[in-house]
Symmetry: C2
Subunit: 159 residues, 2 copies
């Protein structure tokens, strides 16, 4: 089992145990290769009045794709931190009619280094990430989130 | 039973039957008085890793507060239409630590008249709505959504 596989399993366990509504949405950590994270969900549980995916569920999967990418970055950087979202924006381009997968790409090395440096120095750092959902190779939904990571204090770690 | 009460019940039934994930989130049509719509959800089902409300659930309740307001407007205008969301934005100002309620205010009469006129004339019309969540009288989350309503064709109505 390589690091990516064990990280995927740990992220799935985090979603399942710490954000229980993700089990109802059916969110599954589908893929992580160090460069991109893919979270999948079934259309059946997230269907709406138009027999397409509910916008709130698409936002949830996008939100967690960005959150999960930062969670993975912190693991790789060996930083103990907490991640919260400040702002997000969704653009629903076309209806989502099938099981869907949100993909978030890792920021480039310069952004990651800057993020890690600021977080270690200041105790908090911001990161903006995008997630996208495609259907038949067509972009159907785009998500943008601005997250803040906070270095855990010794007191947090004691909890 | 006045119109507002029967509309609330019909909207609740629409959420329950047509967007089943709303039952898992625990979304409840809490209040409608013709001027504002309030949708409530319990923190317990929507808890996250920080013991606060999951951002995706806050977005879901905001999305449906706006969607529900247009659904109610169409009922009152006696227009058969379908509502979809195009874009949305969330601003998470503070953590939500309790059961939460998103409130969407009815647009002013001029906006409603313009919306109804365009929808009847062109078969589609856009409306931008805000929803807000307060905790102890402090704004903790704001949502903005841009929706499109589409006049149902005779074929749709036959379905």
């Amino acid at each position: 089992m390589n690091d990516h596989t064990s990280y995927m399993q740990a992220l799935q366990a985090t979603f399942d145990h710490e954000i229980p509504i993700t089990r109802e949405i059916g969110i599954r950590v589908a893929h992580y290769n160090g460069e991109q994270l893919a979270l999948a969900a079934p259309i059946e549980r997230n269907i709406n009045h138009k027999a397409t995916a509910f916008a709130g569920s698409l936002n949830s999967v996008g939100t967690l794709a960005g959150w999960g990418m930062i969670w993975l970055l912190l693991k790789e950087l060996d930083i103990e931190g907490t991640i919260v979202i400040q702002d997000s924006a969704n653009h629903f381009r076309r209806p989502v009619t099938q099981d869907f997968t949100a993909i978030c790409r890792r920021p480039d090395s310069e952004q990651v280094n800057q993020f890690a440096h600021t977080l270690r120095e200041k105790g908090r750092a911001r990161l903006e990430l995008q997630a996208t959902i495609h259907e038949h190779n067509v972009l159907v939904m785009s998500f943008q989130g601005r997250y803040v990571a906070l270095l855990n204090t010794r007191e947090d770690r004691a909890l």
